[in-house]
């Protein structure tokens, strides 16, 4: 008997302690430092169960408090510590530790910095609840919790209307996904009489498609797949630490995590796998295309996140949930680091976010630019950095599996687009001469900033190796394949790099052309927000208003018979008749004919 369960519960309790400080007067205490230290302690205590798992494969379910029983449904507080949650908790805590340290530097001048840290901590707690939940009810609590905290954090600078709109947009799109979640919960309640994972998996070896579609819809909403994706780039209105934590590493992977949790059901249903594959492929290509022409550095990274989420969905679609989970963990490191480097650049250039106004930072900010390059290389899947261990394996599995060829092709295209927009960022931000004003002080020598980015840089380089070689293998990887298939990911990435560098270098010599149609498609995000945000609600509201107030009186009583009749008569008489209105002539000829007939007969 070891300390597995105790340490896990201690980890969760350490995270919740700074919230208890709310009861005391914490205005003068260094609250931010307390929060960061408690997260660091929680990280270290959570490493021990992880190490136990890595060496002995021990998994556990902690079920300690029976809350209530509603007729035949038993609801209790239970934590599922399996392969996924044991590995995810330390990764999330490590990334959050670095982000907390970073935001101590970034939000230094904010008067509400204590509230900011409190919100971030509450987000982290709800994310932990989501990840360790053993029943759907607890997962739903975590699910809604991360949604609420996302709303509060995106709208942090609430004086700005764009921020409020973006926060509301995030809530609305997530709500549409929640419909799917509730559908799945209701179906499981009716047909399996439970919300516990173990019983659900035992009873549903050959599952019906309905709950799986509900879960896919929930993942589409939370993980910004195509159709419910516009909230993610809009969520960049929040401060950079929020973007780094929520919208790159932790919250947006909640949808994918949900689908990974349900892998025993999804591996038996081919239809849902195909749906996930196609949805993920469309998402990854579309968002990568949109990232090519954006000018805001945070939006490019946000679209990059969205594209990687599509890739994770593709991985679920080819029935490789463990690879998807590995990609989640790896992606957290380098994406958070990319956001933090962007935050460092933005703050140092006096809150400038447009890459067309940056440049020449290679010599001015060496540390940030090196970590930016490390992050971009890890993102594109450079061999033996972090991204390689998950991304290359995903592309290999997709290439060698019996899958939808179209989805495969557009995933490969999206992989090369990843290289292209990463090169674009590096070219515009780091190289050439500066395009910002000369009165800016660039100083990145703050230990808070340097240490946090350094930690994540180490993670970006080594975490992939570390995780891949220490976790027990869950399925057989494909060992033999032709050389050209093995090198596919590398080849498309190198093609993307070369193409992007060529095009970027050519821009110094070409004259400015007006944007082509393809450019406009990419710039306006595929016209999706432009058409859908106004058109659909206004159609719905107009139709419902007309039905409610005008249908009975105006239409049925007035327009159906009388107006229709008169309108019909007028139209037909105009169209049909060719008379000239010689009424007296017509009457006279009538009289003559009658008289003639009478005379002939009598």
């Amino acid at each position: 008997m070891n300390l597995f369960s105790s340490l896990t519960l201690i980890t969760l309790t350490i995270l919740a302690l700074p919230i208890a400080m709310n009861l005391t007067n914490y205005k003068n205490a260094p609250f931010a430092l307390h929060v960061k230290s408690s997260i660091a302690c929680a990280f270290i205590t959570s490493l021990i169960p992880t190490t136990l798992f890595m060496f002995s494969g021990q998994e556990m379910i902690i079920s300690n408090w029976h809350w209530m029983t509603i007729q035949t449904l038993k609801l209790s507080l239970s934590f599922k510590l399996d392969h996924f949650s044991i590995l995810f908790v330390p990764v999330a805590l490590f990334v959050t530790w670095s982000i907390m340290e970073f935001s101590m530097w970034y939000m230094n001048t904010d008067p509400n910095i204590n509230q900011f840290f409190k919100y971030l901590l509450m987000f982290l707690i709800t994310m932990m609840i989501l990840v360790t939940a053993n029943n759907l009810f607890q997962l739903f609590i975590g699910w809604e919790g991360v949604g609420i905290m996302s709303f509060l954090l995106i709208g942090w600078w609430y004086g700005r209307t764009d921020a409020n709109t973006a926060a509301l947009q995030a809530i609305l799109y997530n709500r549409i996904g929640d419909i799917g979640f509730i559908l799945a919960m209701a179906w499981f309640l009716l047909y399996s009489n439970t919300w516990e994972f173990q019983q659900m998996f035992m009873l549903n070896q050959d599952p019906n498609i309905i709950p799986l579609i509900g879960l896919l819809l929930a993942a589409t909403g939370k993980s910004a797949q195509f159709g419910l994706h516009p909230w993610l780039p809009s969520a960049m209105e929040g401060p950079t630490p929020v973007s780094a934590l929520l919208h790159s590493s932790t919250m947006v992977v909640a949808g994918i995590f949900l689908l990974i949790r349900f892998y025993p059901m999804m591996e038996n249903n081919k239809t849902i796998q195909t749906m996930a594959l196609c949805l993920g492929a469309i998402t990854t290509l579309f968002t990568a295309m949109c990232a090519l022409t954006q000018n805001d550095i945070k939006k490019i990274v946000a679209f990059s996140t969205s594209s990687q989420l599509g890739l994770m969905m593709v991985t679920i679609g080819i029935n490789q949930p463990h690879l998807a989970f590995l990609h989640i963990c790896n992606h957290a490191f380098f994406k958070a680091m990319l956001f933090m480097c962007s935050g460092s650049i933005i703050h140092n250039l006096n809150d400038e976010q447009d890459i067309r106004k940056m440049g020449g930072l290679f010599k001015a900010m060496p540390f940030t630019s090196s970590s930016l390059i490390i992050g971009s290389l890890a993102l594109t899947g450079m061999p033996f950095l972090t991204g390689f261990y998950s991304k290359d394996l995903i592309i290999e599995s997709a290439n060698t599996s019996n899958t939808n060829a179209w989805a495969l092709v557009i995933t490969l295209i999206a992989t090369s687009l990843t290289a292209i927009y990463s090169t674009r960022i590096i070219f515009y931000v780091l190289t050439n001469q500066p395009r910002f004003t000369t009165t800016i002080n660039i100083n990145e020598n703050n230990p808070l900033l340097i240490n946090s980015i350094k930690r994540l840089a180490f993670g970006s380089i080594f975490a992939g190796f570390f995780l891949s070689y220490n976790t027990p293998p869950m399925n057989l990887p494909q060992m033999t394949m032709p050389t050209y298939l093995k090198l596919t990911a590398l080849m498309v990435t190198i093609t993307g790099f070369a193409l992007a560098m060529e095009l970027n270098l050519m821009t110094k010599n070409l004259k400015f052309k007006l944007p082509s149609n393809m450019f406009k498609f990419s710039e306006q995000l595929g016209y999706f927000p432009t058409t859908m945000h106004r058109l659909m609600p206004s159609l719905n509201l107009n139709m419902s208003q007309k039905t409610a107030s005008l249908l009975l009186d105006l239409i049925w009583l007035e327009k159906t018979m009388p107006k229709n009749l008169s309108h019909l008569q007028m139209t037909t008489s105009i169209v049909v008749s060719n008379q000239k209105g010689l009424i007296k002539l017509y009457f006279f000829t009538f009289l003559t004919s009658i008289l003639l007939t009478t005379l002939l007969i009598i």
Binding site: M570, S573, I574, S577, Q579, K580, G581, I583, K584, F587, F588, F590, L591, I594
Partner: protein, 98 residues
């Protein structure tokens, strides 16, 4: 045939002539239409009562009702023409547009 019938048929023929041949006012045609209706009513009432044709006792009343509707429609048309042109001269109806 009793001579009263010839009298009334003559009245009908005069009113018919008045309906079909008129000079400029549409109203005169409508008035003669009413005259036609009146003579038809008297004629049918006399014949039906003389022959004790009980089943058709309703017919003149029916004729009256429908003639009233028809007169209303005619007057409505007259009012429409009068609204557009000021008078009901028949030479105004030359366009056949609405």
């Amino acid at each position: 045939m009793p001579s009263i019938f010839i009298n009334i048929i003559l009245a009908f023929a005069t009113a018919l002539l008045g309906t079909l041949v008129f000079r400029s006012h549409l109203m005169s045609s409508l008035l003669c239409l009413e005259g036609m209706m009146l003579s038809m009513f008297i004629l049918s009432t006399l014949i039906i009562l003389n022959m004790h044709f009980t089943m058709s006792f309703m017919m003149p009343i029916l004729l009256l009702v429908f003639a009233a509707c028809e007169a209303a429609v005619g007057l409505a048309l007259l009012v429409m023409v009068s609204n557009t042109y000021g008078l009901d001269y028949i030479q105004n109806l030359n366009l056949l547009q609405c």
